[in-house]
């Protein structure tokens, strides 16, 4: 059962990594196990929970739904790459300010998805926020404060 591997070069949070991966390796497993980006987590096996959400060339993807080889030559941003020079990303700050997290397990994915949502629609209504986050599950917060956090971040961006 020897497996062939494929070389990939992927930039993650600003650092370029060159690795050998199995063709079947999911991006999330590559990030967690080979690059050590354990800030990005796995919550399901059916691409329903969004906990694994990262940005691939600037757009949010569920990294359990992408093969590592598909990300070859791309730039990935994870939740670990958002803070710049000790300053939180406005969406990170808003999650903190609005108590948009409790256990924090959904949070990396929620933050990455929220950023994408605001990139696409800088001034979303509550309904647009709620439908934009539909692919990300949170069991702790009841979403109330997550919605508030996105609203705060949107306000800050204006």
């Amino acid at each position: 059962m020897s497996r062939t591997t494929v070389p990939v070069t992927i930039t993650v949070d600003g650092t370029r990594y060159t690795d050998e991966v199995e063709p079947r390796t999911l991006l999330v497993h590559y990030l967690r196990e080979q690059v050590g980006k354990v800030g990005t987590v796995v919550g399901c096996d059916t691409s329903n929970c969004g906990a694994c959400t990262v940005h691939l060339d600037g757009r949010s993807v569920k990294s359990c739904n992408v093969l590592a080889v598909q990300a070859d030559g791309s730039e990935i941003t994870t939740v670990e790459g958002l803070e710049k020079d000790g300053v939180l990303h406005p969406v990170q700050q808003a999650f903190h300010d609005c108590h948009g997290l409790q256990c924090g397990y959904c949070t990396p994915g929620m933050i990455m998805q929220s950023i994408d949502l605001l990139n696409e629609n800088p001034d979303p209504s509550e309904e647009e926020i709620r439908s934009g986050l539909e692919g990300n599950l949170c069991r702790c917060t009841g979403y109330h404060n997550i919605v508030k956090a996105v609203q705060q971040a949107a306000g800050g961006a204006r």
Partner: protein
């Protein structure tokens, strides 16, 4: 040394909406989830699980798996039968309770689909999973006990050796206990000119569905075996493993690192934890197991799952006179850590906030061939609150008054506290009038009732339903003597210690184990006020049995009301230890010292010394009073004297499209009285999250099995955890009646939203459908069930919508036809 200064008066920390100190690592991904842990030479586990609900294992051929690349070992039940020990149940509710042995790896028979039959240990998770596919297990299918009522009748036996599916029956009777009169008298009086409500409600099976799948790492190297686990209960886990695995407790260390939610679902000693421990001891290498989501949904314990037969007696004007509760509770295939006690926790809460003079509760625990049930947010109390709050709406309908009015007629008035209840508890404080008045206003109750009337009169296809729930709960588990009287295997105290570091920082160690609740922040606020130390100078340590050597962990809304009180007492001891030293430093008498805002001062002078200065002086220990130990550190173990009774009024408005059965939540307002609030931000979060879990039981979630006993809802495609798009923003406020049983006047809040919201939502559904003659819709109230309930009087099958007709045969047959309420519509 003793400099005088004008100190700015500091705002108390308690009550401030402090942003959480635990957030930074969580929002930047610097987290320590168990699955993140990697150790040298680590091996990975994959489980082989039974696809059958009930079967004999006739043969296991693991040779191909053993030969697969990078596989180190495969263990079957037979390989570990002698050493694996039984999984513990800490709560035998009766002396004669029946229970099957619960193995970590099934040896010759499986009793639910998802039970582990073998484990593959390999050098990578992928290799382990690949090889698990190669393990060949031969099963001989056995008939499975699946339906709870059939199982109660012993139609099919879940465990043939037990000879019955009944595990135990537990009874409380107010006449026997001396807390009330005989319920049968109340029932026969009510039959004759009063009101008798006979109902049967279903509490469907739910899945806790915490977002972090369970994961365990065991490192057998070094002097102590270390286990990291995604658990709510590191202390209980350590003790139970020591007792069942033949490891001295002192050779085990359990760490709950960052834990991604629990909701009762991680209040367990799991087969997977024991298997990972066995694998590490066998191989001598660190081992890791992380479950997939489908394994989590299938094999992590489930919650609820009851049939509730209820008889409420009242006078013709709607004054309640008696309540009889008969439960069938589905244990599933085994008794987990506290499985049998969960429905019993409800025994004390069916009477709720109402003045029932007579009460009878019985619960029969039944085995089926399903995943075992155990704690899930609220644990026994949501079931009780649902039943009574649904019944109060039915009573209001019967009498023809507003549902709030019938409650007010029967609830304990604020001047009647302390109140000894018919279930034997003493409610220390509460003010149901105040919470209800505030909730009415917040909700816009009268306007919404007016709108409902308009829609009814105009025959609007979209009808409005208004649901009420005036709940209370008992929380702060628990006075140890009460647990003892209920046969629970442990106490309910909590431990805390405070370490005063020489640099002025303070370490607070708690035996509670947070997994999202914000203890680090809230406990820092408490200590900041108590000791006058800056919020940021306080570090809260927990979840590692070598750091927090003693504790009973986090569940049952206990951490603040029990753990917080332990903390206060430890802090007070620090102050008392510091006092003679301060007196010595100030050359004053200890009796002349006042302690305020972190500073001892000599009464009537401007001389004083700050706690940090004392800590440094104690560290140096150069000049302490004779015989005084050079330490300020202190610990306290607190055993609560009573439970704690938060309450609140929850109001829900739903729009129901009567043409499609579709439901849209219009407004949800609640006013909870949780006593004094330490941090309103954290409290609001607990309420919001709790509400959505309770609403989800009412509208969406159910663990569904097929005829063969396979869990159909074994992924997030089928198990409907609500999304942001399914939910709305909530209006929440508080009234404050401080608890009288702890220093801070706090009450529990973790479970309140979940307990209160389910009946509020179902009451709203039924309220919208009353004009169609509907008096019940079974949970989850799906559009299909709602549509069928609406059309049932046109002769259509009600689709299992209503449960009342099923209730009748259980009650007095002669009276069944006579009481038209009993017919359900």
């Amino acid at each position: 040394m003793t400099v005088t200064e004008d100190r700015p008066s500091v705002e108390p920390e308690i009550g401030q909406a402090r942003k959480r100190k635990e957030d930074y690592r969580l929002i930047t991904g610097r987290t320590r989830w168990t699955d993140n842990i990697v150790l040298p030479g680590m091996l990975h586990l994959a489980m082989v699980r039974s696809p059958f609900a009930h079967a004999t294992i006739t043969a296991i051929d693991a040779s191909e798996a053993r030969n697969a690349p990078n596989v180190v070992a495969v263990l079957t039940g037979a390989d570990v039968a002698e050493v694996q020990g039984p999984l513990p149940c800490a709560w035998p509710i009766t002396e004669d309770q029946k229970a099957p042995v619960h193995p970590a790896i099934a040896v010759d028979r499986v009793a639910f689909a998802g039970e582990v039959v073998a484990v593959v240990i390999a050098r990578s998770a992928v290799a382990a999973r690949d090889a698990a596919e190669l393990v060949d297990v031969d099963y001989e299918d056995l008939p499975a006990a699946l339906d709870l009522k059939d199982a109660a009748a012993d139609t099919t036996l879940a465990h043939p050796d037990l000879g019955t599916n009944t595990s135990a029956t537990w009874i409380f009777d107010s006449a026997e206990a001396g807390t009330g009169s005989p319920v049968e008298d109340a029932i026969s009086t009510a039959r004759d000119g009063g009101i008798l409500l006979e109902r049967e409600y279903r509490q469907q099976r739910l899945i806790p569905a915490f977002m972090e799948p369970r994961s365990t790492v065991v490192d057998p190297t070094g002097e102590q075996i270390t286990m990291w686990s995604a658990t709510q209960v590191p202390h209980i886990l350590k003790i139970m493993l020591a007792m069942t695995q033949g490891i001295p407790e002192s050779k085990l260390r359990v760490i709950a690192p960052d834990v991604g939610g629990g909701f009762g679902g991680k209040l367990q000693v799991t087969p997977e934890e024991v298997i990972t421990l066995m694998a590490a001891r066998r191989t001598g290498k660190p081992c890791k197991y992380t479950e997939t989501r489908s394994e989590s949904l299938m094999a992590g314990h489930h919650g609820r799952d009851q049939w509730q037969k209820l008889t409420l007696a009242a006078t013709a004007d709607g004054t309640v006179t008696g309540l009889k509760v008969e439960l069938l509770a589905d244990m599933g295939a085994y008794l987990g850590l506290v499985t049998p006690g969960i429905p019993i926790l409800g025994a004390f809460m069916f009477n709720a906030i109402y003045k029932f003079p007579a009460y009878h509760f019985s619960c029969t625990n039944i085995f089926t061939n399903k995943t075992w049930t155990d704690a899930y947010r609220g644990a026994g109390r949501p079931e009780a609150t649902f039943a009574i709050e649904r019944l109060m709406d039915e009573l209001a309908h019967e009498v023809g008054v507003d549902p709030l009015a019938i409650r007010e007629k029967n609830w304990i008035k604020h001047e009647e506290f302390p109140f000894a209840t018919v279930a034997g508890l003493e409610y220390d404080s509460g003010n149901y009038e105040a919470a209800t008045a505030k909730a009415r206003e917040l909700f816009g109750y009268d306007e919404l009732r007016a709108e409902q009337k308009r829609r009814r009169e105009s025959g609007d296809p979209v009808q409005l339903g208004i649901g009420v729930s005036t709940f209370t709960e008992m929380c702060g588990l628990a006075p140890s003597r009460v647990l003892g009287s209920l046969n629970y295997g442990a106490g309910g105290w909590e431990h805390a210690s405070v370490r005063m570091l020489p640099t002025g920082k303070v370490e607070v160690i708690t035996g509670t184990s947070a997994h999202g609740q914000g203890h680090a922040t809230a406990f820092s606020q408490i200590i900041a006020d108590r000791l006058g130390v800056a919020f940021d100078d306080i570090e809260v340590l927990h979840g590692d049995t070598q750091v927090s050597h003693k504790g009973l962990d986090t569940y049952g809304s206990r951490s603040l009301v029990v753990g917080g009180e332990a903390l206060v007492r430890a802090a007070d001891k620090v102050i008392e230890r510091a006092r003679p030293i301060a007196a010595h430093m100030l050359e004053a008498s200890a009796d002349d010292l006042d302690f305020e805002a972190g500073r001892f001062s000599v009464r009537g002078t401007d001389q004083g010394v700050a706690m940090a200065e004392i800590a440094l002086a104690v560290f140096a220990a150069h000049d302490l009073p004779d015989g005084v130990e050079p330490s300020l550190d202190a610990e306290a173990t607190y055993d609560p004297v009573n439970f704690n009774y938060p309450h609140g009024t929850h109001l829900c408005a739903l729009e129901i499209d009567t043409e499609t059965g579709g439901v849209r939540m219009r407004k949800y307002a609640c006013v909870d009285d949780i006593g004094n609030v330490i941090n309103p931000l954290i409290v609001a979060g607990q309420v919001h999250g709790g509400l959505v879990q309770g609403i989800a039981q009412a509208l969406w979630e159910e663990a569904v099995h097929d005829d063969a006993g396979t869990l159909v809802s074994a992924s997030f495609v089928d198990y409907l955890v609500p999304t942001a798009a399914d939910t709305i923003s909530f209006d929440i406020e508080h009234t404050t009646t401080p608890a009288l049983t702890n220093s801070l006047g706090t009450k529990g809040v973790g479970e309140a939203g979940t307990i209160a919201s389910t009946p509020a939502v179902v009451n709203a559904v039924v309220d919208a459908l009353r004009p169609f003659g509907v008096s019940d819709v079974r949970m989850p109230c799906t559009p299909e069930r709602i549509w069928k309930a609406i059309h049932a009087r046109d002769g259509a099958d009600d689709g299992g919508g209503a449960t009342a007709e099923a209730a009748m045969p259980h009650f007095d047959e002669d009276q069944a036809g006579a009481n038209d309420e009993g017919a359900g519509r």
